[in-house]
Symmetry: C2
Subunit: 303 residues, 2 copies
């Protein structure tokens, strides 16, 4: 087990149907809590809170166990698992959502095991902000609380999100969402607007254009790892966020230098995530693979 | 005069009418040869080849002289100067061209002074590729030939451009144009496709997302300098290209390390160019301003 502190992650565990120019995958493992916990578990101890239906395949549960992820907070409730069907056309930066089965990760159906109630880190991966708020209220977190969200919640529940933002220290968000949420096209202005709502740090994920990390004192930029073949971009942002959280927890600090290294680590993790469909690549990579890619990124940025 | 070798730059010298969310400017100095020569002159000796009409204001000519740019190859011919009218809306990454007065930079009207005929560097800034080819044929260039172009020429004269590419060593192009020209959405693939047409180096300019520099052996990425206030993005790409060429000429080499430093220098120059309308900022900055911004970029990339 990696030497980091323990992280609780909540978000969705789903079954995805994905079509990209490289092929198709049906009923594969997906969801924000899945990708982020797989990524975070490379660096730290991870426990997840989520819910799936009784149709959720046993073989997928085994994948969490193989990554040493604590799934005692993953409730198997009657009914069907959350399903997302998405299509990527030639421009792999943008998924077209073909269908979504209604999110069943409702607070009423969630159970938080006793040993989850004191956590070092909490990552609220993308899901309903009301659920995120509920979970946050039930866990005593010693370290930072990290948050991710998506355009759906920015449009449907902006007020819940705004309130929640006052209670978290790090927001991870993609560039389209940052613009949508703040109404500012300029990303530096958008980041500053978000900082004024509460968080100490905002990380704006720009897909193949990398990421920027903004605090009140500091701006850090990291390019994406340049890839010629992206097989399946699903979960890239969640893997980034999970890698970020996992690395940060392993450092046991959140000073400027740790935050920067976390963003680079997250970039490396995300670059692996898109190499195969679903969690294929995240299932097999280890810390040394990440380190190797980080040195390539470092070399790519040196002048 | 800076200590670099001499560069000949050809392209347009124009009068622009620009509207951005920050204001409006009428009949201001513009054109690809203008921006790139102003930028290059910070580092090297620059001579330009272009043509303007008899309406071209004397005060604009003086600006070239102030930058020590040799304008003996700038022909003043009867008729009107090339005019571009552009509008930037909230998204400052994209100009809307409202009108263009027909390009009058025709080979027939060009005169190349004798002392231009042996140059160390040649930069074919954006203009008609047939004109670029003609100029290239008339100058003996000891060092590298650099080329820039735009979507208009990619659409209108792809064959001329393709032939010309076989004769240049460095192409500078923006991301939309690189995709349009190669038919490849993935930028690494687009860059490799371009390298297969002849150049040793391709620099893809991504505006606020920075730039990537690709050779057969190397990939280098540089983020843009994060700016909250972009007053006028006109000429950012030309300034980048001019800064790149000027810096490279001052290094007298084009090894991997010089190319990387040239890309960072170009990024710094472009970040100044957009701070004021027209050439306002480029007229006043010096090498020490660039160096200061480069160290900020370096700090922003350090981890």
């Amino acid at each position: 087990m990696p030497g980091g502190r323990d992280i609780v992650i909540t978000g969705s565990v789903a079954l995805d149907n994905i079509r990209t120019p490289y092929g198709e995958a049906r009923d594969v493992l997906g969801g924000s809590a899945t990708y982020s916990s797989f990524a975070a578990s490379i660096f730290s101890t991870v426990r997840i809170i989520s819910v799936v239906g009784s149709d959720f395949p046993e073989c997928h549960l085994k994948k969490f166990e193989k990554k040493n992820i604590d799934i005692s907070g993953l409730k198997i409730s009657p009914g069907r698992t959350f399903r997302w069907t998405g299509l990527y056309e030639a421009d792999m930066n943008e998924a077209k959502t073909l269908s979504v089965c209604p999110e069943n990760l409702k607070d009423g159906s969630m159970e938080i095991p006793v040993h989850y109630r004191n956590a070092s880190f909490l990552f609220l991966a993308n899901t309903d902000p009301d659920v995120q708020t509920e979970i946050l209220g039930k866990i005593r977190v010693a370290g930072p609380v990290l948050l991710d969200t998506m355009n759906l919640w920015i449009r449907k529940k902006p007020e819940s999100l705004r309130k929640l933002l006052g209670k978290v220290s790090i927001l991870l968000i993609n560039e389209t969402e940052a613009r949508l949420f703040t109404g500012k096209i300029n990303l530096v202005s958008a980041a500053k607007e978000i900082l004024s709502m509460g968080p100490e740090t905002v990380v704006i994920k720009k897909g193949e254009d990398g990421a920027i990390l903004v605090t009140r004192e500091d701006i850090f930029t990291v390019p994406a790892y340049p890839m010629e073949e992206v097989k399946d971009p699903t979960g890239a942002g969640d893997s980034f966020a999970g890698g970020f959280t996992g690395y940060l927890a392993s450092r046991r600090r959140k000073d400027a230098s740790s935050l920067r290294k976390a963003a680079v680590t997250a970039t490396a993790v995300a670059s692996f995530a898109v190499e195969e469909f679903s969690t294929g690549r995240l299932e097999t990579i280890g810390r040394e693979d990440i380190e190797e890619r980080i040195s390539k990124i470092k070399k790519m940025m040196r002048f």
